[in-house]
Symmetry: D2
Subunit: 348 residues, 4 copies
């Protein structure tokens, strides 16, 4: 298979580093360009990046020269790890130039002709790509993945919605500091502490989850009738978002039925055996004190979401959900989207 030339936009940040690490050995995508802000551009990657992952910089990447973030860079596919304030216009410029942009930024997620996709949840939303290209007269297009805590929440909601219907979701998050970027949370703010506030996070969870669980018919998105309410907290954990969730189902069911729905769930990435697809998108933990961030975040190479403590009766249930926020919740999410785009023929 011919490899697709790929640029990583914002390649020096924490999510950018995750992109680089995963893509360094990717069977389909070939890094041709790395971009960053002026401060780093012109330097070799290993000199321009403050590499903070617990593995070494991939040898094949370390000498690539960082470029400014501009659509003149090489490539047909661009992964965007840009901050939202910058991503807005920059991603559009890349799409105009013909790039397929797989974006982790929030700027375009809620636009009606932009697919917001988790491949296991709503692969068919990719059909909005055509509408987007027509609407905007772009040769390329933008596909987005949700906010990290939304992805981790919504993936296990999907099989429940399918099997027993879903009418209400209340979620409290215990989020890792990496979600705010490397310098986002000062240590003085969080050691021996917790913070009951993350800017814009609750509204993102409440809106994005409904778009994801909605249906696209003839290019129109129909939102489902589900109440979603979120409260977001930061805790002193480096990686891995944990979420305490109440759900209300439409039909009466049982913890055991829910467990079966979660364990049996396979999405298109699994059926099509996409390169970054975990064998099991959802892993049910039996132990009463799991999932836990440090112990379970790396399951499925960080692409599986773990669910535990399923309890309740009739139509009201409690459960705990956990996932790796910068892999399944960010870089891995964009890459899995791009794999789905490739497999479905949107990328050649």
């Amino acid at each position: 298979m011919k490899q697709i030339d790929t640029a990583v936009l914002g390649a020096t940040g924490m999510v950018g580093q995750r992109f680089v690490k995963i893509l360094a050995n990717h069977p389909w995508f070939n890094i041709k360009a790395l971009t960053a802000s002026k401060r780093s551009s012109g330097k070799e990657y290993k000199k321009g990046v403050n590499w903070v992952l617990d593995t070494e910089i991939p040898k094949s990447i370390e000498n690539i020269e960082i470029q400014k973030t501009h659509p003149k860079v090489d490539g047909d596919l661009a992964f965007s790890a840009l901050p939202s304030n910058i991503a807005d216009s920059v991603e559009e410029n890349f799409a105009k130039k013909g790039f397929a942009v797989a974006s982790n930024a929030s700027s375009h997620r809620m636009e009606s002709d932009v697919p917001l996709v988790i491949p296991e949840v709503n692969p068919s939303h990719l059909e909005l790509i055509e509408k987007q290209k027509q609407n905007r007269e772009w040769s390329g297009y933008v596909v987005t993945n949700p906010n990290c805590s939304t992805i981790i929440l919504t993936l296990p909601l999907k099989p429940i919605q399918e099997k027993m219907g879903l009418s209400s979701v209340k979620v409290v998050t215990l989020q890792a500091v990496s979600g705010a970027g490397y310098s986002g949370v000062p240590s003085m703010a969080i050691i021996d502490n917790a913070i009951p506030y993350i800017s814009s996070e609750e509204i993102k969870m409440e809106k994005e989850s409904k778009k994801l669980l909605g249906k696209v018919d003839n290019g129109e998105l129909n939102l489902p009738d589900i109440d979603v309410s979120a409260q977001c907290n930061r805790i002193p954990v480096t990686d891995g978002h944990m979420e305490s969730v109440w759900i209300e189902t439409e039909e009466e069911t049982s913890p055991n039925e829910i467990k079966k729905a979660l364990e049996g769930f396979m999405g298109e990435p699994q059926k099509k055996d996409l390169p970054s697809a975990p064998k099991k998108p959802i892993i049910v933990k039996e132990s009463e004190d799991r999932p836990q961030p440090r112990l379970d975040k790396d399951l499925g190479d960080g692409m599986s979401v773990s669910v535990g403590r399923i309890r309740g009766s009739n139509k009201e249930f409690k459960l705990t959900i956990l996932g790796h926020n910068t892999i399944r919740g960010a870089a891995g999410a964009s890459i899995l989207n791009a794999e789905l785009m490739t497999q479905k023929g949107y990328l050649k």
Copy 2:
């Protein structure tokens, strides 16, 4: 005023140390006996205790000899920081001998003739003391305070119940490790991690909060019609439980009305100016990222509960609650109970 001779049962544990620290300078209660398990009994307090508070052992206490936990010790009032499995029969034996037992243990909390009290919330429940003494033919009696996370939750629920009615509560806790006792949570279990499970905690929160918000009429407890559902998590914080809460009120109201109800709230401890009563039992924090455990747990000398992020509309609201789990949630709670018992004439 004559001081009341007091014993602290289980004086070497973490809650026991909090009792000792607060009581060392108490205007009404005078420590006459400190008890602990066999391993420590017979030793001076300073030698038998592994003192883990960030102040020095009170000079007036450090040389007191630790005794075995037996009702032959001196005193009219006993504070119990015993583990539940031991507290059950031991507290009964103290009550039979005539002690007023102010207990932090869970053993007797849900018994129908045992007061479960937060002085600001349900001071009138102390009238169950008479019933208890009659039922059991004891010369003394047992009064209990709730579980730490329940106290911190229920204190601010009270003014809401009073002013706008309360029909439903959903609470997710982010609890400090001190709640499990000094050796309860290994560091390997919790550094860079969170645990979605605390044994028996959820059921305690769900049941105790309803008893507290109930009414005692003619010695009978009537439970209110409130749905309470809890999910309990442990996080890497030493002291201070934080709680993300949804409430449903009976009447339509607004965040501003709720805020006024909380800020204006005064209970009997404030009206009667009890020694351990904080001036403000509930402190409303205006900043969008408060309350936080490390910064707010010590407000009101650890006896005030902080509330922030009040938001919502109609009948559904979200808020964040925080309190010091081993002061307002344990030792301080028992002491404030005993002060109320004294002020109301149950202790002389």
Copy 3:
């Protein structure tokens, strides 16, 4: 006693907040001005500061309007919590205008006519004030306190130098994150981690400690013949620097003699009963696992330094030292200096 009008320069940072908290109730010094950068100036203190201490903003201070850092502000005494790059010229300007500047910044510490003082260690160095004023033709002057980890190290070295002579010091620090300022250490950098590097810290410890232990004769500083070598590490602790130290004495001695020298030590602050002087500047901890940052940093209201694990023989000994880096190591240090300056008549 007439109060001295006082300005706090850089009053919104973490050390600035410590100044404000300690000075709010100071018997000699009266806050007349608070200064900060342009971003905050013009605002009431409570609105311009991100208050991060675990007590509330002092009521007497919260409404004071923050000013720009300029010598036109009111006062005779200025405490400087400015960053070093700014402190250099700004402190000079204040001194020219007649202010006595008690500075926590590093800019002027090593200048030969600027006193670098720990009141218990080298109070006589204040005589350099006269020389400084003559040299520079200033009506005011600058007095500095050392770097936080240097103060904590040098205070207990002093009685050892006096009693048994001191020829060599090797120190490894385990430093709290507050030493880098509120945003200095990202949580991603330090949770479940340690960092073996703090910019310029080792050279400061090696040079400042020798100036402190030197003698001033006729306005000339004579450095002692002591080898000092430091290695500095950052660990995930909010407040409290711990130091593992080897010392070589000139005379043979014993752990017990060293212990007696430390415990019996009284400096001028104790003899003159200065307001911020701890009763015991050095507290010897007997327990084999002390001192510890969280448990011992607040001894003596954060102004005592704790020493433990004294062991060794002949002329080589090991010991562990601990102190509060933003109180004894910063704001409290400057204030104690100013109290000594006042008591000695340099400030009226």
Copy 4:
């Protein structure tokens, strides 16, 4: 190659779990027996263990039944992760029965006929095996690896000793909590804190390092003339011991020469390409703030030791050393020893 039947003694503890994880796919060693205390014996491994690593229990191991620790279990090779108080006689019993015991326990390390080995440092010490078997008339034997912090220290000392001679070592450790076993350090003891004491650790570092750097001639161990002094601290880190070290060399040298000696170092495991040997036993980090526990502990699959911040001149140098305490410092160390024993023909 025929696989060697292997037992893991103490297989449920934290080091035991590391043994299981590494051995599950080992090319030479085949797990035939897992032993633990009575509480777990008789259970399947997955039910008897509280698995705390961040990967799942190896499928090939999870159903093995745990046995009591008794030499009747199957195998020719036994890895011992037993606590020292138990290891003493139990390991002897296994050796009498013919087992080659590769022990991580401290019980026998300092006995004159027991090899204490780091394969890169002193592989020739294995010749003590013959002496041991003769002395004790055992058909098997015991080989030990050093204490975790000693291994991490001594590995990089070896090339320095070889190239420029070594006369003095002073080391301060910043040790991870996993070194104390899963429940060894309560979270209340270490969150936002550090502890300047680890029982027996300093004496182990001072004695074991000298045995390792000594020479065995005709079955006699000759200790080198090196002063080693250690101070040991615990910090809130899960895995990875960091050490701040001063060394004095016999010859004058430079940081650059030391760096070259470290980087060029290859031991027998590398030359013989043993299965668990890291390609580079010592990795020199160039960045001024490395090595760090969370980022560098897993280099070389946890078997490489990292060194950084090499500075100094003449004969006195400072450096920072870091290694994974339960892999290179425990389970991996025993396994590498057993691989060396196999390669040298002591195990068939």
